[in-house]
């Protein structure tokens, strides 16, 4: 369970987040939607303890991320790119992450297989395409077999096969009672994947509900999104 409450983030005189609050519940895929620059990544970075909130709280199972006893087994996170140094091989990257949580080497090969990166595991990350980099990022997130997945723009850079694969994967993950929170600015890709939708714009939540509630009278989620974020008529 992810609980975010009254999150405010200021950088200098600029207010990036103005009281963001929502929940992501177990057994459901929660889509965190908004245009570029709306504050999605900032919210996720605060949730993961990377950035500090000016005020408000972002909790995972009722505690801040930095206080989790076994972070990798609780939360799998993927932010920009692969999160790996380009001079390392994909496998070497996953190995150090596994070591940090005391996971066996065999787990590295398992996650490489899950994301379909086994054949490229011995190549340096710098030679990866964006799609491969994202798969490596996802592999790192899955290492600890976490109960919660937090993914920033997971479909970004994936080919149609990859997008289809990640949709199925996330649906299965949620079906087994786990929590999935993913951000995106691409609505079309998400409508078939998410159960709940939180829409933010300019640092504020403008809609929060189930997929049906948010889509409402609009023809598609995409129409609803543009109506909510541009204030324009559907």
């Amino acid at each position: 369970m992810i609980t975010i409450d009254s999150l405010v983030k200021r950088r200098g005189s600029k207010e990036i987040l103005s009281g963001i609050g929502f929940q992501a519940r177990p057994g459901r895929v929660t889509g965190f939607l908004g245009p570029n620059g709306a504050g999605k990544s900032s919210t996720l970075r605060i949730l993961l303890g990377l950035d500090r909130a000016t005020s408000g709280t972002a909790l995972i199972n009722s505690v801040p991320f930095v206080q989790l006893r076994d972070p990798l087994a609780t939360v799998g996170a993927m932010l920009d790119g692969s999160g790996a140094h380009r001079a390392r091989t994909g496998r070497a990257h996953l190995r150090w992450v596994a070591r940090s949580a005391g996971l066996p080497r065999a787990r590295v090969d398992e996650v490489l297989d899950i994301v379909g990166l086994t054949s490229a595991a011995s190549r340096r990350v710098g030679s990866y395409s964006l799609g491969m980099a994202r798969r490596l990022g996802l592999a790192a997130a899955l290492l600890g077999d976490p109960e919660i997945l937090i993914l920033d723009e997971p479909v970004n850079g994936l080919d149609p096969d990859g997008i289809r694969w990640i949709r199925t994967f996330l649906r299965q993950h949620a079906a087994s009672g786990r929590t999935v929170l993913l951000s995106s600015h691409l609505m079309g890709e998400l409508a078939e994947t998410v159960d709940d939708v939180v829409v933010i714009n300019e640092g504020k939540v403008v809609a929060d509900g189930t997929l049906d509630e948010i889509t409402g009278s609009h023809r598609t989620l995409e129409d609803a999104f543009f109506a909510l974020t541009t204030g324009g008529a559907p």
């Binding site: 972070p71 920009d80 790996a84 140094h85 994202r134």
Partner: protein, 254 residues
């Protein structure tokens, strides 16, 4: 311990770390080979009778560039950005989601750098002194009990220098400038040494004080600083810098 194992694994899988290690061994060994052969011809010509007391140690003072590179890349690699095509991520986000406690992460990294620098210094001392003995043969200064604390001083100096480079790079979050400035200061333009010409206080800068742990005579320098005092002064510099780095690192956004 898991965090330390992860940091050791990171260092071992980074090509620039191996370049730093190679430089740390080769630079002092090659300089030692060159200076020792010129010393040898001086002695055979009869212009001198024995090699100086700092033979080998002078070279090890230069070889610290390997330790500097190690300290810098250990942390700058966390902040180097992936290419825009592959998403523009940085490893620090992965590091801090794997080990979220900032101080624990930093201590693990400091420990890994210190251990690697110590190992490097021991190997470099062995090869450098070995080269001196091979080239000078019977004219090489005899190694005795006196050399044990001096060689320990070399290891200490390399570890401290790696940590100074590390601490500065934690603050800059970028490797190029600290690497260029620190390596230049060690080799091309020794700013800290030139400062000692202006004020005797410059003898207490970290590198000038630190080399006293194993160098007996600095050229054109009359300041008397014992090896122990030099070591303590450098310890203080390293401690203060690492505390500043830790405070900045734990407070700022990653």
């Amino acid at each position: 311990m898991r965090a330390l194992a992860a940091e050791a694994s990171k260092l071992a899988s980074l090509p620039t770390v191996w370049i730093a290690m190679a430089a740390g061994v080769l630079v002092p060994s090659v300089i030692a080979a060159i200076t020792a052969s010129s010393t040898r011809s001086t002695i055979t010509r009869g212009a001198a009778t024995v090699a100086g007391a700092d033979t080998g140690y002078q070279e090890l003072a230069f070889g610290v560039v390997g330790a500097i590179t190690l300290g810098v890349v250990a942390i700058s690699s966390e902040y180097s950005t992936e290419s825009a095509e592959s998403g523009g991520g940085r490893q620090i986000t992965t590091s801090l989601t794997a080990v979220p406690a900032r101080l624990r992460f930093l201590l693990a990294k400091i420990s890994a750098v210190a251990i690697a620098a110590a190992v490097l210094a021991i190997i470099a001392s062995g090869t450098t002194m070995g080269v001196i003995h091979v080239v000078l043969g019977e004219h090489a200064p005899a190694m005795g009990a006196d050399d044990v604390p001096r060689l320990a001083g070399v290891v200490c100096y390399w570890v401290y220098t790696a940590l100074l480079a590390f601490g500065i790079t934690v603050l800059t979050r970028h490797g190029v400038i600290p690497l260029a400035v620190l390596i230049a200061n060690t080799s091309v333009v020794t700013v800290t040494y030139l400062l000692t010409k202006i004020t005797p206080l410059a003898n207490y800068l970290p590198d000038m004080a630190g080399v006293r742990m194993f160098i007996r005579r600095l050229a054109d320098n009359t300041a008397e600083i014992s090896p122990l005092t030099g070591g303590l002064v450098m310890t203080a510099w390293v401690a203060v810098l690492l505390v500043i780095a830790a405070v900045a690192f734990t407070r700022r956004d990653a």
